[in-house]
Symmetry: C2
Subunit: 242 residues, 2 copies
DNA sequence: CGATATGTTGAAAAAAGTCAATGGCAGTGG
DNA sequence: CCACTGCCATTGACTTTTTTCAACATATCG
């Protein structure tokens, strides 16, 4: 579980330029010349499910872009309870705070087998110093993280409906174009750590969705099959009523 | 209430350079020469309590730095309910998203009479283009907003204790060195919109704090008097027990 | 194939929400 | 200056939701 597998040390020129997530990722606007700086510096990593990419408090030496899988960002309280602050999906960047603070703020744990690119912080800083083209994507990333946090506060926190509707909203929010009809599978404990509810309550909410044919097992053990449209419709009518 | 009072159009050179919140604000690291760009562009505004600084969806033409008072950032749901996503205090920057999106994400409303500086977005963008010195403070601001959102998710959201402890944590988090022993006074409805609880529940929680001498009226109608140390101690022992 | 994790379900207890009545304060207008 | 009005806060009684605890089922992994 703690093993990390380094697939290959690529040269940035050939791999990053062609990377599938490049459009949505950090290096979308770089030019040919800029990629020379990445040469041999970006590593391509695989992690199994449940692996820790980094711990809160660890020295922030790398930024990561997620190519496939999903990551939970966790914060542990003094009393040992945990809270999940965000779920990252392909295209997202992880560890941005390394650009501003010496250490990571959260613990990053994989929810499914990961493919990610590990970029030394120093390289990002240098690129950012030497070309103006990295700044906009970086601002976009900061904004994306903040917008996601705001959405969780506004939609998922308590007072925004009963547990059942909040679980439904969470599933809908986790849906991505990346895997249509599929949503990353969360443990009851994880749902609890996102919504601030007891795992039993999460179980009951999922039960209702399953019975309503809105949720089912997927072929892939790390994902659920979700009827996104029907779910959205249910939520819309529910909101209307309220 | 909708009136805004423009105190004075200063010239950036003389006023911004000497501004009390400059150290913690956007322009901390600028040099003499950079201030020439600010000349006559930064306005000094006063708002009464309860005034709207900008509406969600409005064109994001300005960034604001808060010099005194407090601002709530509000998001309204489809059903008319509101959620408060952050409370800004002196030194904070407001409307950062204007650098990345055409419109503001939240509605900004004053909780007490405000003094703030209004900076045209274009000026910030230009300064940022022409000097590398603005980038770090901007990154810091993005990070500060995100760190605050994370803290609210982790400490204030449901599942992190009963209403009473969450209200206590909120008060503690709103305390600032700016006004030692004082905390911005929130209406019960606002506390509800932050914590996702009913105003009546907030009232009962405040009642307990008042009876424990941890909370009292202040001379200033817009603030509470809070025994910060005692409050922190109460919370610490409570956490320990749990 | 058993052992441990994780998920499900029921019943009781606790927390918070709702509803309604009351009280207090601020600002308004006689 | 006082009474009136409207808004916000407080409090109690009752209802609903959610948690908790416990038992049981199911799946996963060695």
């Amino acid at each position: 579980m703690r093993a990390i597998i380094v697939n290959s040390v690529n040269n940035g020129y050939s791999n990053c330029k062609r990377c599938g997530v490049r459009q949505s990722a950090l290096f979308a606007e770089l030019l040919e010349e800029d990629f020379d700086l990445l040469h041999d510096q970006v590593d391509d990593l695989d992690y199994p499910a449940g692996a820790v990419v980094y711990h809160a408090g660890a020295h922030g030496d790398w930024l990561y872009t997620l190519r496939s899988g999903a990551i939970k960002l966790v914060r542990y309280s003094a009393d040992g309870s945990q809270r999940i602050l965000r779920i990252l999906r392909p295209g997202d960047v992880c560890g941005l705070e390394a650009l501003v603070r010496p250490a990571y703020d959260h613990t990053a744990i994989s929810l499914a087998p990961l493919k990610l690119c590990r970029i030394p912080r120093a390289i990002v800083e240098r690129l950012n110093r030497e070309t103006p083209r990295l700044q906009k994507p970086l601002f976009e990333r900061w904004y994306a993280a903040l917008a996601e946090a705001d959405a969780w506060l506004a939609e998922l926190a308590s007072g925004q409906g009963d547990v059942k509707t909040r679980v439904a909203r969470l599933l809908l929010r986790l849906a991505s174009d990346d895997r249509p009809g599929e949503v990353i599978r969360l443990s009851l404990e994880d749902i609890g750590a996102i919504l601030g509810v007891a795992p039993e309550s999460a179980s009951r909410a999922l039960g209702v969705l399953r019975r309503g044919k809105l949720l089912a097992q997927s072929d892939n053990r790390y994902y659920w099959r979700v009827d996104t449209e029907a779910l959205a419709a249910t939520l819309a009518s529910h909101d209307q009523a309220a």
